[in-house]
């Protein structure tokens, strides 16, 4: 166990590549289309598995928001750190965690990334500096600030990407964290995924000031909004933000305007949104948008799309089979890791 795990030297290759996918050189846009589709299809399968009661508990999907994980993770290096929320399947996959590690976790198996102790909301991966799925809204923000403080004090060049939703901006922890990060010029980027709803409460019903970037800017950090439904806009904003933070000028804030096409969780009957509003946002689906763009540019064929879908299907099927076959975490290990073992040497 370690708190400062360095990814392997070849981590980029390892965690960007997936079996059977990288057969020939592709453009960045093509890869981003594939990565978004991969998250979409994975979560669609999660819905089926939830209905089949293979996955239990809360399940929060990012369907509709895939441009954000794909765009943000591309802006980071393997040495950077990520702090995420309970709606983090996309973040985890885009960071390089395997479908098998995620599904094993959701199945409550030993093969899961958290040994079945976390479930969908609590995915962790020390090797990829993925500090979890935090299910207390706003609870990850002070931790991200502290990670950034450690990077600064240790004199590294690393940045911390902190993802959270619009609901978190009503929490005191957002304001405490923004102030502290700006006060101490810490290398953290606050990525606010504004999907317009804090569970069932709309932005306008929750915030007196709905211009989230404006509020963040009041703490003395650079803050701006970007189109979270356009992966190219996300990656551009994320790269600028990460480089700013890396340059030593302190934190910054990017409001990524997005929308979840499905309900808050599998328990949510979604009674608080207009069907028309959902339809309107579906027209801005980031996956068809990029598909059409690439088609128009003549760099994406029907065969390519078929191939992407087939490869993803194979990957999902394999991950499901692995999760099904994996042993359960032994009950005898229930109380392991309440405290560290063995005691670390100094």
């Amino acid at each position: 166990m370690t708190t400062t795990a360095k990814p392997a030297k070849n981590a980029t290759t390892t965690h960007r590549s997936r079996p059977g996918v990288d057969r020939r050189p592709r453009t960045t846009e093509f890869e981003m289309l594939r990565d978004m589709t991969r998250i979409r299809r994975f979560e669609e399968r999660c819905v089926e598995l939830y209905s089949a009661t293979k996955i239990r508990g809360f399940l929060h999907l990012c369907i509709g928001e895939e441009a954000i994980p794909v765009g943000v993770m591309r802006a980071l290096t393997d040495d950077d750190a990520v702090v995420s929320t309970y709606r983090e399947h996309g973040h985890a996959l885009a960071r390089g965690m395997t479908m098998g590690a995620l599904l094993g976790e959701m199945f409550g198996k030993q093969s899961g990334c958290s040994g079945g102790r976390g479930g969908s909301m609590h995915l962790f991966d020390a090797a990829r500096r993925f500090y979890g799925g935090n299910a207390i809204v706003g609870g990850g923000l002070p931790v991200a600030v502290g990670l950034a403080l450690a990077e600064k004090m240790r004199g590294t060049n690393n940045v911390v990407a902190c993802l959270f939703g619009d609901g978190a901006m009503a929490e005191g922890e957002f304001h405490e964290s923004a102030n502290l990060a700006a006060l101490w010029h810490l290398p953290v980027v606050f990525f606010c995924e504004n999907n317009l709803y804090a569970m069932g409460t709309s932005l306008a019903r929750e915030h007196a000031q709905t211009d989230l970037a404006l509020r963040a800017a009041s703490y003395g950090m650079v803050a701006w909004p970007a189109d979270g439904m356009d992966v190219l806009a996300v990656v551009d904003a994320a790269r600028r933000a990460v480089e700013l933070a890396r340059s030593g000028s302190g934190p910054c804030f990017v409001e990524l305007r997005t929308y979840r096409f499905r309900a808050h969780s599998m328990y949510d009957p979604d009674r608080y949104r207009d069907k028309a509003e959902i339809e309107q946002w579906r027209h801005r689906d980031p996956i068809p948008a990029l598909t059409e763009k690439l088609r128009a540019a003549g760099v994406l064929s029907d065969d390519d799309l078929t191939e992407i879908e087939a490869e993803i299907l194979t990957e999902i099927d394999k991950a499901v089979a692995e999760a099904e076959a994996a042993p359960e975490e032994p009950v005898g290990d229930l109380t392991r890791f309440v405290t560290s073992e063995p005691r670390r040497e100094q």
């Binding site: 609590h122 979890g132 931790v143 600030v145 240790r154 964290s177 502290l180 560290s340």
Partner: protein, 334 residues
């Protein structure tokens, strides 16, 4: 300085804690201190006085009034390879950081299947006796002792104030240190540096055969004074200082109780759902047939701590209460 003058130099509890922090920051460059007014002000109880000047603002960090923010930042810094000491002014204020302490510090290791441990030390003042009223005076360490994943320490002596911090920093998991506010000005001879201090066991502070008084922190001195008073009347009380409130050192308690057969628990926390209740339950579970009298508890009155001196003193466990409780257990002798 003459040898005689050297021998007379006493150390206060406050200075002992400060020395412990100075030593830790000197020994390990990953160690730093942060909290409200720990730097330029010198600490709200002057514990960190002089450390800013010695170690600089990078390692002695004044924070904004954001308990949740800076405790969470301590957790993040610990995850990121540092060894933070976070100071919270009082346990009442720590409730603003309870989310971070419970949902992150105590939970991340298990929830991540052992991937992320949190080597964080949080120090805070606890307890009453200084007429600071109901929002600065409670003893809530028992609440924290409820939480799996935390180690809870209550140094009651100069030696423990001096010696517990370093092993706490060496612990790979979060450790909370509760410093009773009435102890800071207590002074005594400097502890012998050759005697190592553990953060696992309770200590027998006074040997006795007739009754076991179990206590910790700010009420230790009251228990010892009560034991002296009882001794004059022929009752020899053993006094156990818990020192570590989680995990509890059951073995030391049981060993004593199986000899004395009588128990009085003195806890400045409220009685209901308290640490005293937990200890009482454990002794009943494991030493029921060794007990010759009902277990007695001396706790704070179940009121928010009042300001006025006479009311505050009436609300707190006192030496006379301990003596009376002991006499009830002894008088029930068959």
């Amino acid at each position: 300085m003459t040898a005689q003058a050297t021998a007379q130099v006493e150390l206060t509890y406050r200075e002992a804690m400060r020395e412990a922090m100075r030593e830790a920051m000197t020994r390990d460059e990953r160690v730093f201190l942060m909290g409200e007014d720990v730097g330029r002000y010198g600490g709200c109880f002057a514990v960190s006085m002089g450390l800013l000047e010695e170690f600089g603002p990078e390692r002695v960090r004044d924070t904004p009034l954001s308990e949740s923010g800076f405790v969470g930042a301590g957790i993040g810094a610990a995850l990121g390879g540092m060894r933070p000491i976070v100071e919270i002014m009082t346990v009442n204020f720590s409730l603003l950081a309870l989310d971070q302490i419970l949902n992150n510090a105590a939970t991340l290791l298990h929830m991540s299947n052992g991937q992320f441990n949190v080597p964080l030390v949080i120090r805070m003042t606890t307890g009453a006796g200084r007429q600071l009223a109901a929002q600065h005076s409670h003893s809530l360490e028992g609440w924290y002792a409820h939480i799996p994943g935390l180690r809870i320490l209550a140094p009651a002596t100069i030696a423990d104030a001096r010696g517990m911090l370093w092993p706490a920093l060496e612990d790979p998991d979060p450790v909370l240190i509760f410093e009773h506010g009435t102890l800071y000005n207590v002074s005594g001879p400097p502890p012998d540096p050759s005697i190592s201090v553990d953060i696992t066991s309770a200590a027998v502070r006074r040997a006795g055969r007739d009754v076991t008084i179990v206590t910790y922190g700010g009420t230790l001195s009251k228990a010892l004074d009560a034991a002296d008073e009882l001794s004059a009347g022929g009752v020899e009380a053993e006094v156990i200082d818990l020192r570590v409130l989680r995990p509890l050192d059951d073995a030391t308690l049981l060993e004593s109780v199986t000899r004395t057969h009588r128990v009085v628990i003195v806890d400045e926390g409220w009685r209901s759902g308290s640490l005293s209740a937990e200890i009482s339950a454990r002794l009943v579970e494991h030493a029921f047939y060794d007990l010759d009298a009902p277990i007695e508890r001396v706790c704070s009155a179940e009121v928010p701590m009042p300001y006025a001196l006479h009311l505050e003193q009436a609300a707190l466990p006192q030496q006379a209460d301990v003596v009376a409780a002991v006499m009830r257990t002894v008088d029930s002798r068959a």
